[in-house]
Amino acid sequence: MSGGGDTEDARDTLAGDYVLGLLGEAAARDVERQAATDAPLAAAIAAWRIRLDPLADLAAPSAPSDGAWRRIEASLPAAPPFRAPRNLWRPLAMASLAAAACLAVFVWRGLPAAPPAPWARAVALLAAPGSVQAVVRVQALSDGTLTIVPLQKLALADGRRLGFWAWPRTEKAPVLLGMLPPDGGQVRYPFGVQDGTPVMVTSEPAEGAGKTPGPTLFLGLLAVTS
């Protein structure tokens, strides 16, 4: 990082104190405000959450009482606010997949051998720092590429372009993977796919990105799925 080791250490200490829960309420709110515009701080907080999470296992599990679930169930609203009929199309998708598979068996002999389609190895949902609304979906495919799909229209100030960066654990600083058209695209990802790798969409000058990322628009972590 251009800030040097001291800045990085200070940022990391702050993130660690925050995740440990050591800060008073006012200081914790300051950190949250700061993290909203400071992507490396947001990434440091996420990394500390993952690092320290196993400590929660020191607490002995405790079986909830019989009434605990009933109480939760009674409090559930009739439908969640972000309802999508995914539970309906899931079985349909499976059925059509099965039908397609049967068909594929019948036509298999007649088709030239095709390379296997790449499958998703990891996924990340990117949100604006400080927000919980996923705006961009990133998939790491088995063929060594990342596909980037905006879930809503990405508006950009005049004269700015979108940069797409990742920060693999093996790298000392974020790496520019490419400039991104507003409707998304695909970039090469010449690193091992690892859980928790930060990926971000940034705002860069029209002439292209420099050595360090511009302001972070959306940030997320890769979650390995297969």
Partner: protein, 184 residues
């Protein structure tokens, strides 16, 4: 990151997205998988069965309402559930004006063998355990008091009868040693 909970991470992610789609069976499955762990954590922080079940209620309600907004920038689904539970438990404890539990185990070595076994059941937990074990006992104890027992800097200084500034700088050095160790 090589995590032993990769298997469950995928299932938890799937359950969260089904919750966001309004699938109550998915919320029930998530509850069956995670409620005992989360209630145990809440119980450790609040020291009260009733309050721990209040935490559980609030956390699962929030999961139902916000599963679609699960923030990937905040880590894995498991860490998200841990975070929701810790914060809610700390809030309820604070609002109840409850004093922190008087007798917290003094060191990692005094955690029950079962607790250590749970911690080292995952690759991440094992790495964390070894790196914590490499810290000196007071730093290790402070980090644990903060995370698992929900103590603040001031609580810890009072518990250990040490100046606040000393506690802050010891934790700072402890965390940075922990991070270096985990990155090796």
């Amino acid at each position: 990151m090589d995590t032993a909970w990769d298997d469950t991470a995928a299932e938890l992610s799937d359950l969260l997205s089904r919750c966001a789609a309004g699938d109550r069976a998915a919320l029930r499955r998530l509850y069956d998988l995670q409620a005992p762990r989360l209630k145990g954590l809440a119980l450790r922080i609040t020291g009260s069965q009733a309050m721990a079940e209040d935490v559980l209620h609030d956390v699962f309600l929030r999961v139902w309402q916000q599963a679609g907004q699960f923030d990937p920038a905040r880590g894995t689904p498991r860490a998200w559930l841990t975070t929701l539970t810790r914060y809610r438990a700390l809030d309820l404890r604070r609002h109840a004006g409850r004093e922190v539990a008087a007798a917290a185990p003094p060191d990692l070595a005094d955690e029950s063998p079962d607790a250590i076994a749970r911690l080292i059941a995952s690759a991440d937990g094992r790495a964390l355990y070894h790196c914590l074990a490499a810290l000196d006992a007071p730093r290790r104890r402070m980090i644990r008091l903060a995370f698992i027992d929900g103590r603040t800097h001031a609580d810890i200084a009072a518990t250990l009868d040490m100046p606040l500034g000393t506690v802050k700088s010891m934790i700072r050095r402890g965390l940075s040693a922990l991070k270096r160790c985990l990155e090796q």
